[in-house]
């Protein structure tokens, strides 16, 4: 049986199932201090002083502040605007100001109660609206991190003439990644001055790059090691740059190793969240529902510093039209600063936000036109040959129609909607029932020229005994990356899956295969591994005189190939598939090499008295090109779908004065096993010619469709159009009350 396409057991399974896998807090670090962070309570202000309570044993502690930073006080990312430790001013609640280390963990935590920051407040800017209107300028000249526009045809002219124009405003909130393992890092300096950082993270080479300027160290004097990571979902994409810098700074000052592990409250208060967004649509259509023009305005809240906001915005704008073809499009997208903790990467990366708006807008259009929302999508969905808003022509692997029809069929669309309408008419029933559906696309890999700039490298090592090891900086954080890459290598080499192992990501041992983000690991890094495997295969055949067949011949060929060396490495570097171009100033061209497509149908009921929502059935069809490991892919889809359902129905970040008020899993509620039905998954495989074995992206797309499918189902059930997530019972009740008041007036 060939490894690719098999549901092979995960490489990381056995250790994780026995409690033997070592997450960062499980690694004993001899002699380590435990580090904690003193943070601002105020959203905006000037630091006037620090008071240390003299009754606390400060002599046992090591305290570091901005003045201890040997290099640049900046967390390197897109901009260098975010300080590692606040120096004089604070720009958001929970901004780090001081670090404290103590040999005893409990005492270190107690230190936080014995230090007070004196901060003179400055009026904060807390909402996107206040930021855009420049109530006060808090970032750059105009509070705007990034503006992007996309133009196709002439939307204004087309709207002026369109027989039907529909407008809508949609709002999506923050979301907490809520990985179950909180963020954590350890750091120490080796005798030769090398800084070593180990921790829970997605992108070892991001941390590697960020630490160099902070400590004024050359690349070879910084080493970053991945510990088994208990979930990331984007939350461990950029924040580890900060936490790694903190642990290392304390280690430098203390001249001892340091371990820093956040507790849940700190993790939720201080680390990044999904960007909230407001998206406005103005759409022109023919009377029978064909798209003539789309005018879209996107506003995202980046928080106090830039982090990844420009690229989140980029992915957001590139998905804003949804998977539909429209001759005239005009989109304006802006990401702005507020005095709130910076928002950052979260599975989907801007796309769930704009796709929620795009899909809910179809529900609105359907009700205005009195048409079936599925028919409207059918009529406008992209197919091979369609031209996207950037002018990109879709040449292959376009399965929007297929996933849509699969979801329509499996959800029993027409019959179920009819049955629900009957049920809802009966005043004796305790609930209203509804069925909603959404259709999305999701670009795989980095946006635009991102992959070209990254120049990722990955490959394989083979030793004299014929053992093959995958070499990549791509991390396993639960998504199945290590097993998937091993399957690709095994298949391409013609050896069993069990004989390929995966090197632990460690910048001293693996090449930079780029960050573990953007649904790129299988498609892009897997492609590099596959190319390296075919080089290795050729080299083995050459060394042995012919292609080795069977394990003993493979070992003999490996011995010959290695010669005197203990191992040989075969690395491949990213090459852009021929024919792709993207102008990242004007946003014209091939934004992504390929797109995944997904449809999701949600059937639910709403209690007529309490307005509680109960999910009855969730079905989703997702095209991933090729499922390298169907079990792993299904696990990603089910997990992402439930994360999306949580965002739609349960999860709410409550802020007051720019500070999160519910930083606990007790009051920030994520779905339990009882909150969701069995997620029914259909994997669709429409192969992409440039992906390894046809594979496209997997990880992020499942997050996109549940939100709008839920809102559409609630609309279908209750007749209440809720353009804002999350759809909590109290929101439905408010909408019902408003509706009743409106009716009474008439």
């Amino acid at each position: 049986m060939r490894p690719v396409g098999e549901s092979a057991p995960r490489k990381d399974g056995p250790d994780k199932l026995c409690g033997a896998a070592r997450y960062i807090d499980d690694h004993p670090i001899p002699g380590a201090l435990f580090g904690v962070t003193v943070r601002s309570r105020s959203a905006s202000g000037r630091i006037k002083g620090v008071r240390f309570d003299p009754s606390f044993p400060w002599a046992e502690c090591v305290v570091a502040d901005a003045r201890d930073i040997p290099g640049k006080n900046a967390v390197h990312l897109l901009g260098d605007d975010q300080p590692l430790l606040a120096d004089g001013v604070v720009r958001h609640a929970f901004e780090p100001v001081l670090l404290v280390g103590h040999p005893d963990r409990a005492t270190a935590w107690r230190a936080l109660e014995n230090v007070t920051l004196e901060i003179e407040p400055i009026e904060p800017v807390l909402t996107m609206e206040d930021s855009v209107s420049r109530k006060r300028v808090i970032w750059g000249d105009d509070n705007v991190f990034k503006t992007i526009t996309i133009k196709k045809g002439d939307a204004a002219a087309a709207l002026a003439q369109a027989p039907v124009v529909v407008e809508g405003v949609y709002r999506v909130p923050h979301q907490e990644q809520a990985y179950i393992e909180n963020q954590g890092m350890s750091a120490w300096f080796e005798e030769d001055g090398t800084l070593v950082v180990m921790g829970s993270l997605q992108c070892p080479y991001y941390v590697h790059k960020a630490l160099q300027p902070i400590f004024a160290l050359p690349a070879e004097k910084v080493r970053v090691i991945h510990a088994v990571t208990g979930g990331g979902f984007g939350g461990k994409e950029e924040y580890p740059n900060m936490l790694g810098g903190h642990a290392a700074l304390l280690a430098l000052k203390a001249k001892r190793p340091v371990k820093m592990i956040y507790d849940r409250t700190e993790d939720m208060q201080a680390t990044t969240k999904r960007h909230p967004a407001v998206v406005r649509h103005r759409t022109g259509l023919t009377k029978d529902g064909r798209l003539l023009a789309q005018e879209i305005d996107i506003l995202m809240d980046g928080g106090a510093y830039m982090t990844l906001s420009p690229v989140v915005l980029s992915r957001g704008i590139l998905h804003a039209t949804g998977p539909y073809e429209c001759p005239n499009v005009s989109v304006l997208a802006r990401s702005v600063a507020t005095n709130t903790p910076p928002n950052g990467a979260f599975r989907g990366f801007g796309a769930p936000q704009t796709l929620f708006a795009a899909e809910m807008h179809w529900e609105k259009i359907a009700s205005v036109l009195g048409k079936d929302p599925v028919d409207l999508r059918r009529r406008n969905a992209v197919k091979v040959g369609s031209v996207l808003a950037t002018g990109q022509v879709l040449k292959e692997s376009v399965s929007a129609g297929k996933v849509l029809e699969t979801a329509v069929k499996r959800s029993n669309w027409t019959a179920a909607r009819r049955a629900h309408a009957r049920w809802n008419k009966d005043p004796g029933k305790p609930t209203w029932r509804g069925l909603g559906l959404s259709l999305v696309h999701h670009g795989a890999g980095f946006t635009g020229n991102g992959e070209v700039y990254l120049k990722s490298r990955a490959g394989l090592a083979i030793d004299r005994a014929g053992r093959v090891t995958v070499l990549a900086g791509s991390t396993e954080m639960g998504q199945g990356a290590s097993s998937t890459l091993a399957q690709i290598a095994a298949d391409a080499l013609g050896v069993p899956y069990g004989s390929v192992s995966v090197e632990r990501p460690d910048t001293a041992r693996v090449p930079d295969s780029g960050p573990t983000v953007a649904s790129r690991t299988t498609m892009v890094v897997g492609g590099l591994v596959r190319r390296a495997a075919s080089d290795l295969r050729t080299a083995l055949a050459k060394a042995a005189g012919r292609a080795p067949s069977g394990a003993p011949a493979f070992r003999r060929a490996a011995r010959k190939l290695c010669g005197a060396a203990s191992e040989r490495r075969f690395l491949a570097e990213y090459e852009r598939p021929a024919g792709l171009t993207f102008d990242d100033v004007n946003y014209v061209g091939d934004a992504y090499g390929s797109y995944g497509f997904a449809a999701c149908a949600v059937e639910l009921e709403v209690d007529r008295t309490t307005f509680e929502v109960r999910l009855l059935r969730v079905f989703t069809a997702q095209d991933v090109g090729k499922a390298v490991n169907p079990r792993v892919v299904e696990g990603q889809i089910a997990g992402g779908t439930v994360q999306g359902l949580g965002w739609a129905l349960l999860e709410q970040c409550v802020y007051k004065d720019g500070a999160l008020q519910n930083p606990r899993l007790t009051d920030y509620v994520i779905p339990t096993a009882l909150d969701v039905p069995d997620i029914e998954v259909a994997i669709v495989e429409d192969p992409y010619s440039c992906g390894p074995f046809g594979a496209k992206g997997v990880g992020e797309m499942p997050m996109d469709p549940p939100g709008p499918a839920v809102a559409a189902a609630v609309f279908n059930a209750t007749g209440l159009f809720l353009p804002t997530l999350p759809i909590l019972p109290e929101r439905i009740q408010e909408a019902a009350d408003e509706e009743a008041a409106r009716r009474a007036l008439k």
Partner: protein, 152 residues
Amino acid sequence: MIRLSVNGRRRAYAGPPFARLIDALREDWGLTGTKEGCGEGECGACTVLIDGEPANACLVPMGQLDGARVETVEALGTPERLNRLQRAFAEKGGAQCGICTPGMLMAAEAHRRAKGRKDREGICRALSGNLCRCTGYKHIIESVSAALKGKK
């Protein structure tokens, strides 16, 4: 001095009685299989068995454990010799990032020993105190179901 059994081995604990079981397990005895996700009884990552009953090790003070029998994930099986429940998780993909897995396994183990319901609803109830952010619960439920229904 508090005397208890941990995974079948006798242990004596001389630390403060209000210290949490999870810290004794992880820091004093090196049993790091038990995970801390919230420290307040919400996530279930720290689930262990105390006298056969599931409990959140982050909420249990050592002072309550004199004479108790504590079992953690380390008692179930080894990577080379997984027990039936662990094997089912390996086959069905019940562990993704794995941080919730030790707690899930212990909750499922308690359910199995109590001869709890084998249907989806019964399994969901047994696992409802354990949060997982990766799997959407699908493969966890399939794993537990397979283990409960499996022969032998």
